[in-house]
């Protein structure tokens, strides 16, 4: 009986070790530190949603949260909004284009009652384009989610925080 228990424990340990080793190998190696981009100002354009119908409240919240969170990073001397005339003369300007390509509006009530359903997802394609050269510096899809706490608009804050994290990483 004791032998069976020992063999069982060993087998379970071996399985666990194999699982964690596999996961560790599967994880991407951290990217080599890249030289930081040196733009001193950024212009954030209004979030577009050409492919799908996005409620205006979400569009406004995405844009405003994006501006707010990128300002918080303090990586740029100037953060210009869409349409700002001062951006025309700004040196080293990078323009952020955001295009929503996926949106699933969940339900706050369903989230709070069931925990597992009613999540809100917003998928946004972001491109940081250097205005002087016209080159795309960063092109990335960012997802904003809200799974449990908060209203649906909280997904826009999640997206903006992730975008700000990218800004912090590259600039």
């Amino acid at each position: 009986m004791n032998k069976i228990l020992r063999i069982g424990c060993l087998f379970a340990l071996a399985l666990a070790a194999a699982f964690f080793a596999g996961r560790a190998l599967a994880q991407e190696k951290p990217a080599a530190p890249q030289p930081k981009l040196t733009n001193t100002s950024i212009q954030i354009l209004m979030v577009r949603s050409d492919e799908l119908k996005l409620p205006m409240a979400f569009q406004m919240a995405l844009y405003e949260n994006l501006v707010e969170q990128i300002e918080k990073t303090k990586k740029f001397q100037h953060v210009y909004r869409d349409g700002d005339q001062n951006a025309a003369n700004a040196p080293d300007l990078v323009v952020l284009h955001s295009d929503v390509f996926g949106f699933k509006q969940g339900s706050e009530e369903a989230r709070q009652v069931t925990t597992v359903v009613g999540a809100t997802h917003i998928k946004v394609h972001c491109e940081f384009i250097d205005k002087a050269s016209g080159k795309t510096q960063i092109s990335q899809d960012i997802t904003g989610n809200v799974y449990f706490l908060g209203g649906n608009l909280r997904a826009t804050l999640d997206f903006a925080k992730k975008a700000a994290q990218i800004v912090s990483t590259y600039y």
Partner: protein, 247 residues
């Protein structure tokens, strides 16, 4: 004087001096005259009132009271009906103050989810919170749209804490919700920069706020009238769907 059938001979008509008598009439006798008042008409003079409907004198006072009540009820109903047909009053059109408005995001210098009073006056949109006023000229507003949402009755920090209450009572409390309106707008500042603002208002207020803003110079891609029509269509569609489900 009401007369349903003009083909019947005069002798077949029955005369009811009171409306209440008419309602007491037997179902088959649909040919009748009704002439309220004490005077008798020619039919009454010829035949007299129907004996089955003749009322004793004791009942006269109660009948008078009933007749008065009926008259007042009919008058009130008529007034209500006329009132509903009349165009909305001027005072209703000029509703420009919206208390219990929550600023979700967008106004410069105002905290997120701050509750205050939204006012549309003198060509400005004003949001007042703790005697601090933030102003946006309505002429600079380039888009106004309304929406609908709901929120927990018990919100904020207390609402979050209830999620940790025993026996999943927090989840149960999440079922109690209040409907709210969402008012989203964009405006441009003096440099041409675009700002987006989101407010939530008590149910039914967003449309009035939008109308007030548009009246005072704000632009919109969907006029308030078109929005009303769309809302009515949505309601009809929802009713039809509900009927189909029932069938």
């Amino acid at each position: 004087l009401l007369r349903r059938s003009r083909d019947l001979p005069l002798a077949d008509f029955r005369c009811f001096p009171r409306f209440s008598d008419f309602f007491r009439a037997r179902p088959g006798s649909f040919f009748f005259f009704v002439h309220p008042g004490p005077n008798r008409c020619s039919v009454c003079a010829a035949h007299g009132p129907p004996p089955s409907l003749a009322l004793p004198k004791e009942e006269n006072s109660s009948m008078n009271m009933r007749r008065r009540i009926t008259f007042f009820l009919a008058a009130a109903a008529a007034l209500l009906f006329i009132g509903s047909l009349a165009p909305p009053s001027h005072a209703q059109e000029e509703k420009t103050t919206f208390p219990d408005t929550k600023h979700v995001i967008g106004l410069v210098g105002v905290k997120h989810n701050a509750s205050g009073t939204l006012t549309v006056q003198n060509g400005n949109l004003e949001f007042v919170k703790d005697q601090k006023t933030t102003t946006v000229p309505t002429a600079s507003i380039t888009e106004v749209l309304t929406g609908k949402d709901s929120e927990r009755m018990i919100g904020g920090v207390i609402g979050t804490l209830t999620m940790f209450a025993p026996y999943e009572s927090g989840r149960f409390l999440s079922l109690f919700r209040t409907k709210i309106d969402v008012l989203s707008l964009t405006y441009t500042d003096s440099t041409g920069a675009i700002h987006g603002v989101v407010f939530t208002l008590p149910k039914g207020s967003a449309f009035d706020a939008k109308r007030a803003l548009v009246t005072q110079g704000a632009k919109t891609s969907v006029s308030p009238e078109a929005e009303l029509e769309a809302e009515a269509k949505e309601k009809e569609a929802a009713k039809e769907k509900a009927k189909e489900k029932q069938q």
